[in-house]
């Protein structure tokens, strides 16, 4: 049996300091409330100062990449829900876009518009929760409760549209699970009005808050060059002044038709990230507003019988006689149904945490030969030691919540 209790990190020097203190190894997580997930950090401390930090990940590893090689493309949408569980719709859309680009499909205008609206709504859900947790970790518990009310309202919309609050599985290759319900626009309008008010209230509560400013300004700064070298994307990269947003850099789903600003901040500290997320939520509300105003009518599925899963009517199931049996065979049996051409693609979309990339290799069969996801959290978290080493232990909590690392996406 292997030795399980060996130290993961050894103290390099064990010397007497000025006050006769000794360095100490502290285990932060995986069950710590401030880690927001199963993250483990092994920290070497000198008093309250972090000397060295080593993240240990893999506590939520679920083998998504291996599983997906044994599923068809539309079955894999279910797997993507479980990656970033704060904004599953963005993952659904990212995967659908990747397969569609691999196959060269162009989705219908209504489908693209609905996808954009759902993406932006879940971006708000992700960002608002991150801002709330950031405040909670620094002691402002009220903000977290306000943000949870807004997230609840958003989840009601998701439930109304997709049928599930978290495991949405809303997209299909070439279309959507179903059209939005008739009261979708009203629900969104009510939400957006409320959300703008709540954002104002949060800003009023935190932006001038002496404790919040002292705890966040100048904390966790990384230089622009380091950010690029580490492969940081999303809010972390935009917070150091790099206007990199895939919705602009590589427009997909008609994002080029909507007017919005790519928000940047210059300081690159925890406060800049918080402030940037707050401003991005307002931009997201703007985009949803434009989508609702210009929502085109029409079908939500592409008109191609090789891609579309036919509706489950009595005639289309095996119980529906010969025709149904043929439908079923041609859509679900191995070697039939949705088979992208032989080839490979790297396709990326802007998820709330950064660049969510899918690298798919197809061998021409029904199942992906290789299904690789480039999770933004994985690369973002790698820079964490760089951000906190030399700082205080209490600042580490502030930095960690500003990274918004999602363990499901980190470990997959």
């Amino acid at each position: 049996m292997p030795e399980l209790r060996r130290p993961v990190m050894a103290i390099e020097q064990d010397e007497e300091g000025d006050l006769g203190t000794r360095r100490m190894i502290v285990n932060f997580g995986p069950q710590h409330p401030a880690t927001h997930g199963t993250l483990r950090n092994i920290i070497e401390l000198d008093g309250e100062r972090v000397i060295r930090l080593e993240p240990e990940i893999g506590y939520l590893h679920s083998g998504f990449e291996k599983q997906s090689e044994y599923r068809t493309y539309n079955q894999t949408v279910v797997v993507t829900d479980r990656m970033n569980y704060l904004s599953p719709l963005c993952n659904n859309v990212g995967f659908a876009v990747a397969v569609e680009e691999l196959m060269g499909i162009k989705v219908t205008p209504r489908c693209a518009a609905i996808r954009v609206a759902m993406c932006e709504l879940s971006r708000i859900a992700d960002h608002i929760l991150c801002c709330g947790l950031q405040a909670m970790d620094l002691g402002a518990f009220t903000v977290m409760l306000w943000t949870f009310i807004e997230r609840e309202n958003l989840y009601n919309i998701f439930e109304n549209v997709t049928g599930a609050r978290l495991t949405t599985s809303y997209t299909r290759v070439g279309g959507l699970l179903r059209d939005v319900p008739p009261d979708f626009e009203d629900m969104c309008r009510t939400f957006m009005t409320n959300c703008s008010k709540v954002l104002d209230e949060i800003a009023e509560m935190l932006d001038g808050n002496r404790i919040f400013l002292d705890r966040t300004k100048g904390v966790g700064v990384v230089s622009k060059e380091d950010c690029i070298s580490y492969g940081l994307t999303g809010p972390l990269l935009r917070a150091v002044g790099v206007p990199y947003d895939l919705r602009r850099a590589r427009p997909y789903l008609g994002y080029e038709n909507y007017r919005f600003d790519v928000i940047t901040e210059q300081e690159g500290d925890v406060f800049a990230r918080y402030h940037l997320r707050m401003r991005e939520m307002r931009e997201a509300i703007k985009i949803v507003d434009q989508v609702l105003k210009t929502m085109p009518a029409g079908p939500i599925y592409v008109d191609d019988p090789r891609i579309v899963i036919p509706p489950k009517t009595a005639q289309n199931t095996p119980a529906g006689g010969m025709e149904g049996l043929i439908y079923h065979f041609k859509n679900y049996m191995f070697g039939h149904g949705l088979c992208p051409p032989k080839g490979e693609i790297y396709s990326s979309t802007e998820a709330p945490n950064g660049e969510l990339g899918f690298y798919l290799v197809s061998d021409g069969t029904q199942r992906p030969y290789r299904w690789r996801v480039r999770p933004p959290s994985f690369y973002n978290y790698q820079a964490f030691p760089k951000m906190v080493e030399g700082g205080l232990l209490s600042d580490l909590v502030a930095v960690l919540s500003s990274l918004n690392v999602i363990a499901g996406e980190l470990d997959r």
Partner: protein, 160 residues
């Protein structure tokens, strides 16, 4: 000038071929001078960001070698992407680490080591990242069964 053409011009003996799939160009390269090729792309072609590093197991797919390490690069200045695929033989699954070129590489390479068993030479800290340190086997290899090899029944228990 296309970055992959530049690579082909400078390292003609290293490039096995340039292909295109779904509108994206990528090059198959040998692993011998992969660091020089990557350095050329980073310093002269301006690919300052390693977007993603992963691997593919081409078991019995008629590829030059069994494993293939995939580098997805992005240039912030030009807003261009490119992809390199370095082939690694089954008999000696090892390749030079790109950790000196991009800080994004170490964890991604640890993940490839974890799931494919490809060894990265001169890596600062090459050990398993997602799976436990005492895990045997590399699950994303194509000859590894989906249900595992009994690890879930036989994992060592913690004895205080």
């Amino acid at each position: 000038m296309d970055p992959l053409d530049r690579v082909k011009e400078r390292f003609a003996d290293q490039v096995l071929g340039v292909y295109e799939s779904a509108g994206q160009k990528y090059a198959h390269v040998r692993r011998d001078r992969i660091l020089d090729v990557l350095r050329l792309l980073r310093d002269e072609a301006g690919f300052d960001c390693l977007t993603d590093l992963t691997a593919v197991d081409y078991l019995n797919q008629g590829m030059p070698e069994r494993y293939c390490v995939v580098y997805n690069l992005y240039s912030f200045k030009e807003n261009v992407r490119t992809r390199l695929k370095a082939f690694v033989p089954e008999s000696d699954p090892s390749i030079e680490s790109a950790a000196t070129l991009w800080k994004a590489a170490p964890w991604a390479e640890r993940e490839v080591f974890d799931f494919f068993g490809i060894v990265f030479k001169n890596h600062p800290n090459l050990k398993r990242i997602e799976l436990p340190d005492d895990y045997e086997g590399h699950p994303l290899r194509k000859d590894y069964p989906l249900t595992g090899r009994g690890e879930r029944m036989n994992f060592p228990r913690y004895v205080p």
